[in-house]
């Protein structure tokens, strides 16, 4: 049986294999992202974080720095763009929607819960938790434990629903 013309062999070198980069590259990823967070701490006084970029309400609160929201929102927008350009360049971009309405709702509700959680916990997993631990704030460890517990609950819920 001949292979249809869509198939390609797994690519080598800088092109990622399905595992991501060639495994030798894996070490670079935490190095690069960690360095980004350190650099941001140096430049802005805050670790890399994302939740501030979604805090659109802050833009309308008086006495707050809209600059922070804009800065983080720009980085967030950049992430989408960088991912899109990268994916497109490798033929990995594909538009698709949730297959059912209930999964669409799950995505929305999941985001909602994350948003509430991020506000309550003073940050998301990257900024509040990893940034907190990195900043030597003991709250970061509390966040880690709590997040793990929440994830565990979520997994049990998904198990009940899908397996």
């Amino acid at each position: 049986m001949s292979l249809p013309k869509g198939s390609e062999p797994v690519l080598k070198g800088l092109q990622p294999t399905p595992e991501g980069f060639d495994p030798a590259w894996h070490a670079w990823v935490p190095l690069l992202l960690g360095t980004v967070s350190v650099a941001l701490l140096w430049i802005t006084g805050r670790p890399w974080g994302l939740a501030q970029g979604f805090s659109l309400g802050r833009l309308f609160e008086t006495g707050n720095e809209p600059g922070l929201v804009v800065q983080v929102a720009l980085v967030n927008a950049g992430i989408v763009l960088g991912s899109a350009v990268t994916a497109r360049s490798r033929g990995e971009f594909r538009f698709h929607l949730p297959p059912t309405v209930s999964l669409a709702l799950q995505a929305l509700v999941g985001g909602l819960i994350m948003g509430i959680g991020a506000r309550l916990a003073y940050g998301c997993n990257v900024g509040g938790m990893l940034g907190g631990i990195s900043s030597f704030s003991l709250h970061g460890w509390v966040y880690l434990v709590a997040l793990s517990a929440g994830a565990y609950l979520g997994v049990q819920l998904l198990r009940r629903l899908y397996s």
Binding site: Q71, A107, L112, G117, S135, A146
Partner: protein, 200 residues
């Protein structure tokens, strides 16, 4: 930093995350589901870089007379409850904020909904939102460090500051603090990896 610089930084992060297929939520859920540790290695590796890096930045800033930089906040009910909710929401949505942005860039429309939900959620308990009371309550139930044991601006428990109470000199807390943190990170990872190896 200019607008373009922030965008480019984001683009670089997006490139790295998309290429590596790293997903924070998957890192956690993989461990829960099948004791997969690949993702946890990324997280541990990240902390191995940031812990010494942040120590250096904090030390240089503070000893130069600046305000202590970083994410240092009290241990509140908000952190506990918020962390729990974030973990739950992240698994339901199939990604944290960063992963959602990356997947959205790959064309996964589901994450557009997730991001919309996140914006709404943040607004709901924010200063201009209807459920703001919940945040105020959660913030209020907190353990804060008194000024004498913490140099953090808002009462967080900052490890080097805590250590400076009983370590001699200016520099020692900034060495011991990171070492302790690194030890804990390593210990947690090794424990999880050991459990994972046992489970095959």
């Amino acid at each position: 930093m200019t607008t373009v610089a922030w965008l480019l930084l984001g683009a670089a992060i997006g490139f790295v995350l998309q290429s590596s297929r790293f997903c924070f939520a998957a890192a956690i859920s993989d461990y829960i589901l099948f004791r997969g540790t690949n993702g946890l290695r990324f997280i541990g590796g990240f902390l191995l870089i940031t812990i010494p890096g942040f120590a250096l930045v904090q030390y240089l800033t503070v000893s130069g007379g600046g305000v202590l930089p970083g994410k240092i906040v009290p241990i509140s009910l908000g952190v506990l409850l918020g962390g729990l909710l974030f973990g739950l929401g992240m698994v339901l949505a199939g990604g944290c904020f960063a992963s959602s942005l990356v997947r959205l860039g790959e064309g996964a429309g589901s994450y557009a909904l997730t991001i919309v939900g996140a914006v709404i959620g943040i607004w709901l308990v924010g200063a201009s939102g209807p459920l703001q009371g919940l945040a105020i309550l959660a913030d209020g139930l907190a353990v804060t460090a008194v000024d004498s044991i913490s140099t953090a601006p808002n009462g967080g428990f900052h490890l080097p500051s805590l250590l400076s109470g009983f370590l001699p000199g200016q520099v020692a807390p900034w060495i011991v603090g990171p070492i302790l943190s690194l030890l804990v990170v390593t210990a947690v990872y090794l424990l999880l990896a050991l459990i994972a190896r046992r489970s095959v």
